[in-house]
């Protein structure tokens, strides 16, 4: 065989091999969709869920998967308002009692009926220290769950807790028999629009439409979540048509490129998280409020949002999110202002007395370390950019980068000066202000302390009137800025990119994917 003929055979073989599978017959379409729609939605997920037991889960990936399989008493809509789901209605006769009327005729995927016992079991187990739920402490305000009748359940609280609906009642309900089922955390059973089929670890999770779903049935028969950790591969898979939907984290360059491509729809919206510079108030240098404020004025938030994040995220102003009902324009932050920073440093006694370009005081150089972690490229870029603007203002700034467990171990022990990290899922301001910034909170690692701030956030979680709560949070946010407790640098955006052939998908600021049940993709 001569070389040319061999090359010809080889190429033909490769083509035949590469085309194998392309001509497979399509599997039957869903009952709800037929004809020109695909029978499978392929989703590119960045991180694999750790467990699919909603009570043990702690990551948004798990939420994205089990929210297709399970329902909760209450859902949070795109406007972040609680709406009925398995609970048809609820009442709050006094500040310590919540009564939920449950939907009747709902069945779990194994055919058993959903009732109040399932709700009680779900909430009793997540609060049980022996069960080992990661977020058990978030349910601490619930003291008892009482079954009034099969379709009425009463929650008795130990103290008033305003975010109860949006944080606690969104817990997916599992069957009362869940803990007797072998491998429930690998193969969850719920009442949701999709029935879980298989989890192939490190590879994919598959589910199919629930024909007996109590609500509007899923429009596409099969749903497959593919675990694709590498951002570049996830985007390439979308472009190659191997997946129909991908989401952040994605590089700003990829997002901008696909925004120009008519084959894709890029949904960009404000997320529910922040990137922050957390000051350690126990460090001698940072005990001086003027120094903290000067450093905050040296963080160029506008450039970070426009250049590092390519306009996808917004410059930060306060600990309240612009999308929140608690937001107010009256709370002012720290715009980039090197002149003001210089004046504040001078007022605090820091000047370049020896002309070496570094500010000093009593013979000591103004040195500060910015600490962040490897798992987030954007935060590393932010830390480096901070170093740049700090240095040009005469601050000897160093960047320290650790991997996440080392970083959080150090930060939680107070071994840091300025830590750059994020907060997510801030549906209610209580999450950040009460849990992290209150002086007695175990997660207040930087030692911020303001009696007035504490009083405001403690009061705000106990009243139900949202406009009253908003006023309290706005006051607390202003105190946070006046005292420079933390500096919010950028509000996180959320981006989902899908094929232009996909219809019915609505992005959610929290990154939830409940609308996948309405999604279809043209063939």
């Amino acid at each position: 065989m001569n070389a040319k003929r061999f090359a010809g055979y080889a190429l033909a073989g490769l083509l035949a091999f590469s085309m194998a599978g392309c001509g497979e017959k399509p599997s039957p379409s869903s009952p709800a969709q037929s004809g020109s729609y695909k029978d499978t939605l392929n989703i590119g997920l960045d991180v694999e869920p750790e467990t699919l037991d909603p009570r043990l889960a702690r990551d948004i990936s798990a939420t994205r998967v089990f929210e297709q399989v399970c329902d909760s008493l209450v859902e949070v809509n795109e406007q972040l308002e609680p709406i009925p789901c398995l609970a048809e209605s609820w009442e709050n006769p006094d500040e310590l009692t919540w009564i939920f009327k449950l939907r009747q005729g709902v069945k779990f995927h194994d055919g058993s009926d959903f009732d109040a016992e399932d709700v009680k079991h779900t909430f009793d187990t997540i609060r049980d220290p022996e069960f080992g739920a990661v977020y058990a402490a978030n349910y601490a305000s619930i003291s008892e769950v009482v079954v009034e009748d099969p379709y009425t359940v009463k929650f008795i609280l130990s103290e008033p807790y305003a975010p109860l609906l949006v944080y606690n009642m969104t817990l997916p309900i599992v069957p009362a028999e869940a803990d007797d089922m072998e491998g429930f955390s690998e193969h969850p059973i719920g009442t949701g629009p999709y029935v879980f089929k298989e989890w192939s670890r490190n590879s994919k999770l598959t589910m199919e439409a629930n024909p007996d779903y109590w609500g509007e049935k899923a429009k596409t028969q099969n749903l497959v979540f593919h675990i694709v950790p590498e951002n570049a591969t996830r985007v390439a898979a979308l472009e190659a048509g191997d997946v129909d939907l991908v989401h952040t984290p994605l590089t700003p360059q990829d997002i901008q490129r696909l925004q120009q491509d008519p084959r894709f729809v890029v949904d960009t919206m404000s997320g529910l998280g922040i990137h922050q510079a957390a000051f350690n108030h126990n460090v001698e240098l940072l005990k001086d409020k003027r120094v903290r404020m000067a450093l905050a004025h040296l963080i160029d938030k506008e450039t970070m949002a426009q250049e590092l994040c390519q306009g996808i995220e917004r410059p930060g102003v306060s600990v309240l999110l612009p999308t929140s009902w608690a937001w107010s324009d009256s709370v002012t932050g720290f715009p980039y202002d090197p002149e003001k920073a210089k004046a504040l440093f001078k007022e605090a006694g820091w000047e370049d007395s020896d002309g070496d370009g570094i500010l000093d005081k009593d013979g000591n150089k103004l040195t500060v370390t910015i600490y962040t972690y490897t798992q987030d490229d954007l935060k590393m870029q932010m830390a480096e950019y901070m170093q740049n603007t700090f240095t040009s203002a005469g601050v000897d700034a160093q960047v320290k980068i650790g991997e996440w467990p080392s970083f959080i171990d150090d930060v939680s022990k107070g071994n840091y000066e300025i830590a750059v990290f994020g907060m997510m899922n801030m549906i209610d301001p209580d999450k950040y202000l009460f849990t992290y910034l209150r002086s007695t909170s175990p997660s207040n690692w930087g030692g911020y302390s303001s009696a007035e701030f504490d009083s405001l956030v403690e009061q705000a979680r106990k009243i139900s009137d949202q406009s009253e709560r908003a006023k309290l949070y706005q006051k607390a946010a202003q105190i946070n800025n006046d005292e420079v407790m933390h500096d919010v640098m950028v509000y996180q955006g959320y981006v989902a990119i899908h094929s232009a052939k996909m219809e019915g998908f609505t992005p959610h600021p929290a990154g939830y994917w409940r609308s996948l049940r309405n999604a279809t993709v043209q063939d």
């Binding site: 702690r58 990661v134 590879s203 191997d242 467990p405």
Partner: protein, 326 residues
């Protein structure tokens, strides 16, 4: 021979034990608290303490080590802190994927490297030699991450010939399906998905192995017995393949063995780029989560595989070189 194999198997035990102890302490000495990594930043000190006690991390290191060694002697590698599953089950589902990829990558390496290496030695200082070695140099210089992305861009995105990521049915199961049902579709799908990651990993190995073959072949081709064979009038093809190549194989087998061993534990980059569900990704994720039992179990598994591979390489030496059989 049997005695030799038995002796070599016995030698694996202290190696694995040593690695177990080193990994046990290393993972505990790096900063990072598994309870904090598990519970996250919202956890209270009470919850953290309770979790440490539940995981047995409140005991002294020596007590923890003694308990762990006791358990692994009964082949109980514990349960993953994060996944709440037996470690052996997780490894059992991910190691075959890595093995499959490593074998495919080595096949790609050899298919490319052997002809290139032999050709460039036989045609030393010719254009064929320069071109082969240029590609060998290129292969060793290009980062595997970059090769992977280029392959995806070319074959998945532009040409749309091959899938961009993921693994099909395990090859063994796909072959089983072929015999059981007569359907070749699962096998073809598995092979199509295997091709890009195997090529991206194999290119680097090919570069290394072809350079090794070239240099050892050059040495052998210059030796007395090759000159004698040629003087006897043996055909050049036979001289090259039987007399020279076989004798040049020993160092090549060592390189291939080492390359294969490193692929078993170190294909993490390729596994990540192609979303290949192998053990490299499992171990690295476990390190980031401070999932001690899974890190320990994963490393022990890779160590045992590496030691077994070394044994096989040594046995292969004996097959290739009769002098070593004594």
């Amino acid at each position: 021979m049997a005695k030799y194999i038995f002796k070599r198997i016995l030698q694996i035990i202290p190696v694995v034990l040593g690695i177990t102890i080193i990994v046990f302490f290393l993972i505990r000495l790096i900063p990072g608290d598994p309870a904090l990594a598990l519970l996250g930043t919202d956890a209270t000190p009470e919850e953290l303490a309770r979790t440490r006690a539940r995981l047995g991390l409140d005991k002294s290191y020596l007590v923890q080590l003694a308990l762990y060694l006791r358990d692994i002697f009964t082949l109980n590698f514990g349960e993953s802190i994060v996944q709440h599953k037996p470690v052996m089950e997780i490894i059992g589902s991910s190691f075959p994927a890595t093995l499959e990829l490593a074998v495919a990558a080595i096949i790609v390496s050899l298919v490319v490297a052997v002809p290139l290496g032999v050709l460039s030695a036989v045609k030393q200082n010719s254009w064929a030699d320069y071109v082969s070695m240029f590609f060998a140099q290129l292969g060793t210089s290009m980062p595997v991450f970059w090769i992977g992305l280029l392959l995806i861009l070319a074959f998945s995105l532009k040409l749309q010939w091959l899938p961009s990521f993921g693994r099909g049915e395990p090859l063994a199961e796909a072959v089983g399906a072929l015999f059981a049902t007569g359907s070749a579709a699962p096998l073809l799908d598995s092979l199509r998905r295997l091709l890009l990651p195997a090529v991206s990993l194999g290119v680097m190995g090919a570069a290394l192995i072809s350079r090794m073959i070239r240099s050892t072949m050059l040495e052998v081709l210059d030796s007395d017995y090759v000159r004698t064979a040629r003087a006897k009038g043996t055909r050049e093809g036979k001289v090259v393949l039987k007399h020279a190549f076989r004798n040049a194989l020993l160092p090549v087998v060592t390189t291939v063995g080492l390359q294969f061993g490193s692929l078993l534990g170190g294909a993490i980059v390729t596994e990540t780029v192609f979303a290949w569900p192998g053990i490299g990704r499992v171990i690295v994720t476990a390190i980031f989560q401070r999932d001690f039992p899974l890190v320990q179990g994963g490393v022990i598994c890779v160590a045992v595989a590496f030691a077994t591979l070394n044994l096989l390489v040594d046995l292969l030496y004996a097959v290739i070189n009769p002098k070593l059989r004594a």
